[in-house]
């Protein structure tokens, strides 16, 4: 909990606490050295240590970013498009915070960021966010939606929260993604002790047969193809592809997907059991039997891979065999799938839409293929991937331009997309927006509990988009009412140390109050025009009326399109 003196110092524009100066005053090398030791503390310090990843021949992130930017530049030239100009550091900080932590920068963070030399701000900001536990938790939740969905599942054998926490730890420790996938696909044991196995236990039904402990190969095949390979082949569960939507086999000469392709993939999971004793491969092989469309009887499916079969091994353990194939360095769809998903998380929309439907045969955006090469070549390094995505040009471009912005600009990533915030981002941004300090893992436990509880309730009321969270959605009346009159917002306006009322009481003058309100809500300062509109109305009142005016301005800012959209 921050004291009044410190709060006043933030409002005045300087940092009273040396622990906050890591971002501001460390050189890039000292920042990295702190990362290696993990010895610092404080809300802007780097706390985690990454495990050793291949570094000897690893090109600098900047080199890859340059190549990605060059590829985007070429596509803009080819399409005859002018790209938007770059945004300022605060707008960049806001969109990266929303993309990586699901909230907006705190005033505390903004003050420190602004003390960093201009040419280092974006890079330092991404490093700062990557070291923040909020980022690993936020990314884990996003990936968990793809891996296990959003529902609670069978109570006795499934713990989604454990799975998310486990994922967050792996992301924080920067476990190479191929190893992460292998752990998920080959995991055994109890879901509480080895949370990766919740991938399997999620598919267990509580049905009439108490002895039925088989996981659901069909749902697992669908999950594997969508989440791990970025391919929607679910329709093949019931019939051969007749629309030309699913191509499998040889990527150079693909053929239409067959029902047998899907069930041959499902057969890798047959025999995996999930019971109160945990997830394990059963003692004896269990054939996966399917009655194919128009067949008169069931047939046992032989496990077979849907494409790139030359990468298959002879491992007798079916799940390990599948995991080896999925994570084989030449199995590029696996890398494409996670890169496309991480791009969607950080940038707001995927490179290839929908996020989990990248055709086997392409065509692939050239920037994607550059990132695939880098990702595989650098040991499936997720942190590096995030840094590449976050610092490449499309993420730095403005959503506005002096020229007409066409759909072609959007398709080519020549402007930053204007997107409505997801419910979790709206909730996270509201919670942070009334606080001067960062509500992160270092915040007081009560603040964190309050944040967690109110965010959960808000998202429930607002409407959780579920797994398909990158699809554009419209706003509902329920959401509008919640934003205008909901308790989450009114709590932040009216009560406690993290409230606008409290903030108003500490502001030395009308100008500083307005600036603070704009910075904590919109991550920018008011324009001259906005000052002209708001400041006289603040100066015209005093005492409790001044507090009310601050509350009303905050309400208008939080309900504005500028706050509820990423831009």
């Amino acid at each position: 909990m921050i004291g009044a003196i410190a709060v006043a110092s933030f409002l005045m524009g300087y940092d009273p606490d040396t622990r906050l100066s890591v971002l501001a005053f460390s050189s890039p090398s000292s920042h990295l050295s702190r990362s290696a030791t993990g010895s610092t503390s404080g809300s802007l310090s780097v706390r985690s240590a990454s495990p050793a990843l291949p570094v000897a021949s690893t090109p600098a992130v900047g080199t890859i970013v340059d190549r990605v930017d060059a590829a985007f530049g070429a596509s803009w030239r080819d399409a005859g498009l002018q790209a938007a100009s770059e945004v300022d550091h605060l707008r960049y900080a806001r969109r990266m915070s929303l993309g990586l932590t699901g909230t907006v920068p705190s005033l505390e963070e903004i003050r420190v960021l602004e003390s960093v030399p201009r040419n280092l701000r974006n890079e330092r900001w991404v490093k700062h966010l990557l070291a923040d536990e909020r980022t690993s938790l936020f990314l884990a939740e996003r990936l968990a939606r793809a891996f296990v969905g959003v529902e609670d599942g069978p109570f006795l054998v499934y713990r989604r929260s454990r799975f998310v926490s486990w994922l967050a730890l792996q992301i924080r420790n920067n476990l190479p993604y191929d190893r992460l996938v292998k752990q998920i696909l080959t995991g055994n044991g109890i879901w509480t002790q080895n949370p990766s196995v919740n991938f399997y236990s999620r598919t267990l039904d509580q049905n009439e047969n108490e002895n039925d402990t088989q996981v659901d190969p069909v749902r697992l095949a669908g999950r594997t193809s969508r989440a791990l390979l970025g391919m929607r082949i679910d329709c093949l569960q019931c019939h051969d592809d007749f629309l030309g939507n699913v191509n499998l086999g040889d990527p150079a000469e693909p053929s239409g997907g067959q029902q047998t392709d899907f069930h041959a993939l499902a057969a890798f999971f047959s025999g995996t059991e999930a019971s109160l004793g945990g997830v394990n491969t059963g003692p004896a092989p269990v054939p996966w039997k399917v009655q194919l469309l128009n067949a008169s009887e069931e047939r046992a499916m032989t496990p077979a891979l849907p494409f790139l079969r030359e990468l298959d091994g002879d491992e007798p353990n079916l799940r390990l065999r599948l995991a080896n194939w999925v994570t084989h360095p030449e199995n590029r769809p696996c890398a494409r799938a996670i890169i496309n998903r991480m791009w969607a998380i950080v940038y707001g929309r995927p490179l290839v839409e929908p996020v989990d439907d990248i055709p086997l045969e392409g065509p692939f955006p050239k920037p994607l293929e550059i990132m695939v090469d880098d990702f595989i070549g650098c040991g499936y390094d997720l942190h590096r991937l995030v840094r590449v995505i976050a610092t490449c040009k499309p993420a730095r471009l403005d959503s506005m331009a002096t020229f007409e912005i066409t759909r072609s600009h959007g398709r080519h990533f020549a402007v930053f997309p204007l997107r409505r915030l997801r419910p979790d981002q709206v909730a996270g941004a509201i919670v942070q927006s009334s606080s001067l300090t960062t509500i992160d893992q270092q915040a007081h436990v009560l603040d964190r509990l309050m944040k967690f509880g109110s965010q959960q309730e808000f998202v429930r009321r607002f409407g959780d988009p579920g797994e398909d969270e990158f699809k554009e959605r419209g706003e509902t009346v329920t959401q509008k009412l919640l934003m205008m009159n909901g308790s989450m917002l009114s709590d932040r306006i009216n009560e406690g140390i993290h409230s606008v009322a409290h903030l108003a009481s500490l502001s030395p003058n009308a100008d500083k109050l307005l600036e603070t309100l704009f910075l904590i809500v919109l991550s920018r300062r008011p324009t001259a025009e906005e000052q002209q509109h708001f400041i006289p109305s603040i100066k015209a009142v005093a005492g409790s009326q001044k507090k009310e005016r601050a509350q009303d301005i905050y309400w208008a800012l939080v309900n504005s399109i500028e706050f509820t959209w990423n831009h």
């Binding site: 049905n207 989990d356 912005i405 554009e472 509008k480």
Partner: protein, 440 residues
């Protein structure tokens, strides 16, 4: 209202043309505008005809058919459960449904419903949408389909949402590919206030807030007016509808606290009972689909006692709902459907519970032309335990999509019509066929 019927747009267009909509006037819906809009809407419709509506009594967790609508007293699978006679000859109900039994001549039962989903979330999705979960597409719930397909009530202007979920459970009705604007509006115990509809400050402050907001939004939108990608999307589109709802007299339909105790008491002093009573008022106000949830049916242990506790809540509410709809002359135009995501196993497990059973479960239906006193489908009193083909122990079974086709067809919706979906594949509103034998 936010179901975006064509009429709604017409009214809005009229308001816009008259220059009296939007934020520029905070009292943006003048009596004149309302009158003009209503007149135009009324002209377009067949005045005097009451539209058809749906009330879903959603038994979340899955009620046991053996203790409710499909008892087999005296058999091994009854496991001691008793049944009672009803006023419909030959139809029995589970013990505890005594009030409902007196109205059985107005209620019919579809037994032997089947699905392929034995997991709660997936089965809820399946029963509410008529489709199995598909990771590539979110299907709309039946309430959303009804709002999408049917027009507003003749001669009425509906300020409140036309799709409402009272006491929402895990998955309240969603608009799915029809859009979030068709999501059910969620409210809780009708004895309490409706969430988020009261302005938090006095009028003058609210007016100032809206003016400040308008200023912020105008600037943001105008600076992006050259962005074709978000053309028509960028805006505080639902602000107007939200403000209209906040000041609507129709909000009273959500609140039963001022109704006489004599009206409330028969429904039972429970949130579910109050929800059923509120549902009637909402239907009267023009709401098209109300879902009222009663949870707690997932009885893997101690089935008989726990089901009995739920039945105590269900019986007075269900029966009173039918009675009151009749009394208000609403039953003919309001279909009531009572059921859950699946049934429960014919066999009691070692903990005295019944597990999940999608291979023959029941729903009760009334109103909207349902004849009453009829039963469609039959389950065996002695199914084979562990059978790989449980459907062979059913007669006149119906998959869940047939229930949807029945409801939609009766409400006058072309259930086989194909709608465009975001994945580029046209999809039938419903893939089932109406169940025969329930209507005249």
């Amino acid at each position: 209202m936010h179901c975006r019927s064509p009429e709604h747009y017409s009214r809005r267009t009229l308001l816009k043309a008259a220059g009296i909509g939007g934020l520029s006037s905070i009292s943006w819906l003048t009596p004149l505008a309302t009158a003009l809009a209503r007149a135009q809407e009324t002209d377009k419709r067949n005045a005097g005809k009451r539209p058809k509506s749906l009330i879903v009594l959603w038994m979340e967790g899955a009620p046991s058919q053996l203790e409710t609508f499909d008892p087999h007293p005296g058999t091994e699978i009854a496991a001691g459960s008793k049944a009672i006679q009803t006023n419909a000859p030959g139809i029995m109900l589970g013990k505890g449904l005594e009030q409902t039994a007196t109205l059985m001549d107005s209620i019919s039962i579809v037994r032997a419903l089947t699905s392929k989903e034995g997991d709660h979330e997936r089965a809820i999705y399946n029963v509410k949408t008529g489709y199995r979960p598909d990771p590539t597409l979110t299907h709309p719930s039946i309430g959303s389909v009804i709002c999408h397909q049917l027009k507003d009530a003749a001669g009425t202007t509906i300020d409140i949402p036309r799709h409402v979920s009272i006491l929402p459970g895990q998955l309240p009705g969603r608009g799915g590919y029809l859009g979030d604007s068709y999501d059910a509006f969620k409210v809780f115990d009708p004895l309490g206030s409706i969430p988020d509809v009261k302005t938090l400050v006095k009028k003058d402050r609210q007016k100032q807030r809206l003016l400040d907001l308008q200023r912020m939004d105008q600037k943001f939108i105008s600076s992006r007016a050259n962005n074709q990608i978000v053309e028509g999307k960028l805006g505080n589109h639902n602000l107007e509808a939200a403000l209209k709802m906040m000041s609507s007299e129709q909000l009273k339909a959500f609140d039963i606290s001022e109704l006489p105790i004599g009206v409330r008491q028969p429904f039972g002093d429970t949130p579910f009972g109050r929800g059923c009573l509120a549902a009637i008022g909402l239907i009267e106000s023009g709401v098209r689909c109300v879902e009222v949830t009663l949870g707690g049916w997932d009885t893997h242990v101690n089935n008989h006692e726990l089901q009995g506790n739920r039945i105590k809540v269900l019986d007075p509410a269900f029966a009173s709902l039918i009675r009151e709809l009749k009394a208000r002359d609403l039953l003919d135009t309001t279909m009531v459907v009572c059921g859950g995501e699946f049934g429960r196993t014919p066999w009691v497990n070692g903990l005295g519970g019944r597990d999940h059973w999608p291979h023959g479960f029941s729903v009760a239906m009334a109103g909207g032309g349902i004849q009453g006193g009829r039963v469609v489908g039959e389950t065996s009193p002695a199914p084979e335990r562990g059978s790989k083909t449980p459907s062979k122990f059913l007669r006149d079974a119906n998959p869940i999509e047939n229930l949807h086709a029945t409801i939609l067809n009766r409400l006058g919706i072309d259930y086989s019509r194909e709608l465009d979906t975001p994945i580029g594949r046209p999809l039938k509103i419903c893939a089932g066929q109406p169940i025969g034998g329930l209507f005249e």
